[in-house]
Amino acid sequence: MADVSKLIPGQKVLLQGNEAIARGALEAGVALAAAYPGNPSSEILQTLADSAHSAGIYVEWSTNEKVALESAAAASYAGLRGMASMKQNGVNVAQDFICNLTISGTQGGIVLVTCDDPSGVSSTNEEDARFIARVACLPLLEPATPAECLSMMKLAFELSEQIGNLVVLRGLARLSHTRAGVVPGPLPESKRRPRWDPSQRWFTIPVVPRHQAMLDKLAKAGEIMGAAGVNYYDGPQRPELLVVASGSSRLYADEARRMLEAGERVGILHLGATWPLDQELILEHLARADKILFAEEVDPHLEGGVKSIYAQHVRELGIKDFFGQDTGHKPPVGELSPSRVAAALADILGLPWQEVDPAYQEKAQVAQALVAPRQVGFCPGCPHRASYWSMKQVLAADGREGIVSGDIGCYTLGVLPTGYQRVNAVHCMGSGPGIASGLGKLRDQGFGQPVISVVGDSTFFHAALPALVNARWNNSDYVLVVLDNSATAMTGFQPHPGTGATAMGQAGTVVDVEQVCAGLGLPYAVVDPYDLEATQEALYDALQIGGGLRVLIFRRLCALVQNKQGGHPWSISVDPELCRGEDCGCHRFCTRVFRCPGLVFDEATGKATVDEVVCVGCGVCAQICPAGAIKARPKEATA
């Protein structure tokens, strides 16, 4: 990412939403920023890390989101400004701390950024993390554009310091990864000196009066946000329909109104501050219109809140019609779009709405029959493909219906065909070894299936450790396979404790998986997943031992990282004389079963070939070809 501390104040630049959040934090004088990588939030911390040296701040990839927020709170208690950024799942990880921090309160400004992922483009769920604002009584800001990302970050820090509590800023995947013009402001000229006044103590008891104080802070936050100009109305004096919207949905509503040429009939109440809701403002605008539509993603947060305010004032407001999730005008799942909002507006206003000529639409739909889906899978050369190949072979050879308990990372794709659908369950960070731990304790009741838990090297440190200690303590019977590709690959190759590198590019201390295993007293071995025979032998043996937790570390650098570090050693080709073509392994063994995208079946010749644009030269396929037709030769020799 770019060093955003070098941007020139007043000069408009194209910034990604996440970069704008980072720049806003710098302009607000953030001193400590921490995060665990998670798309769509990852670029925020990466941008801050790349700006840290010139800005003179501390930026850290933490082991998980809870630790990240605790580090940010430390800065706050030392009188500095701190922040933690995360994806929606991370809010769950940090939630226990959040729900106590909000009672104890804070000193220096502290902001939690959550980047939600409606439609789950890069997530295992599409949770709406705005729930945390309600649960923990925290002020919530929702920007709609990169420019607002910047300005609302500054507001969030100011607000936090004024009320003495955490402030939440909610982004969305679309916004995080949107680039638009942003005009940066100045960076602060002076820095604060960190000091924790020893007379100040931060804790949550007595609970009831502190709970009351927390509510008072929220009310005060509402007043400050109301005066900050982040909520505004745009439309006619007496609109027929009022759209209450937040985040990207504000822009979708605006565009839908333009497309339908309904500017005279539709008003939009733009809400940048969405918790607490500004009751006075909402009452004022409910009085303007008799029909109200909600535009937001994913949960009916505004819909529920506004209806609740309406219920208290129904006598003065009279009968209103509300449209939203409850009426099917806003989808309960997936993201919103300008077209979806337009369809809702057209339906409510009785306007004709046709996206495109129906004859064209039908023709285009028919043509879609030609378009094969493009399912995601492991990259060419990915060590995970080789690892799952070995698990597939070994579990078949073992024959006891082995179960693979999955986890979060690139290797989650083990549920899909390029991982041979070998993974039986995936939930959240660290849940794989926990489930395996439970399974491994059902032996006495007759559970005879072998159990493998797969975790990535970054996940190992994030949340797997407590489950491993649990399994060791209780003598649970399973094999932990650490898929160590020396990177947090799914989110952009961030370093983690096992790599020893830090966010700011300095050398940290390597915390290696072997030492952790040794410390826990766990038997372990390291194998190279590219070496299929050795890997399968080690895994087969480990499954036969039984009796307790044992660890295999499958270590091989992420293929994408290897591509950037000089590439792979092999030049792959298929000898058409030896290739068995259609008849191989029941039918096209390498392309149909092994499924590396570097291998292509040439229908014309009836033989497999290598796609030179796709193949990286890892050499694994040469080991699986039953005819020995796939040849791996050193690249130098063929060049």
Partner: protein, 205 residues
């Protein structure tokens, strides 16, 4: 500032993860922003390097700030680094007036490689696309990029091709300036060649 022929000007840039789709849209966005237009570039990625379809939307207007997602069936142009992806997105963003520029080099989805699904014959794919747009530019961008030394340059070849059409309010020089602001000078020579090659490809059509 030149008036926009289409306002909003909505360009979809698509392809398969790893083909340089995000970079192409970023270059275009930057060039248009520097020329004074209101620009929003929406990017869809996450599993982008894992063989999935990826799409960016470059949205340009002279007036209001646009959201990161364009309405369905309203694209001015669809630029695709892979021909099947062009047809996929015509289904969502196409209309009789859309202009489609696509690389002719197929990247077969894994289901096709595995023999479970079919990839259309090039002639059928081309004819189908032609029947769903106002003008199709079916360009050998990967072949041209390979001649320049690296298949990854196909994205810049297509940007060059786009500059040869009468859609953008800016010229190839401005796109080149945006590239130069993002690449070190020693990497610029192949990028300049790729832009020029793209322009030439369209002029040959």
């Amino acid at each position: 500032m030149k008036a926009l022929k289409y306002d909003p000007l909505d360009i979809v840039v698509t392809g398969v993860g790893g083909q340089g789709n995000v970079l192409a849209s970023q270059v275009l966005g930057r060039a248009l922003l520097d020329a004074g237009y209101q620009v929003t570039v929406g990017e869809t990625y996450g599993l982008s390097q894992r063989g999935g379809s990826v799409m960016s939307q470059v949205r340009v207007s002279s007036g209001p700030v646009l959201g990161p997602m364009m309405p369905d069936h309203r694209a001015t142009a669809i630029i695709s680094l892979e021909p099947l992806e062009a047809l996929r997105l015509v289904g969502t963003y196409g209309h009789p007036g859309v202009v489609v520029l696509t690389n002719d080099r197929p990247l077969r989805p894994q289901g096709v490689l595995a023999g479970e699904q079919a990839y259309p014959e090039p002639q059928e794919l081309r004819a189908t696309l032609e029947g769903l747009c106002a003008k199709l530019y079916w360009l050998p961008a990967t072949a041209a990029a390979l001649k320049l030394g690296n298949h990854i340059l196909a994205n810049v070849v297509l940007l060059g091709a786009l500059c040869a059409l009468d859609l953008l309010p800016i010229g190839a020089e401005q796109v080149e300036a945006a590239l130069a602001a993002m690449f070190p000078e020693d990497k610029m020579a192949p990028n300049r060649e790729a832009l020029a090659k793209g322009l030439a490809l369209v002029r040959e059509v």
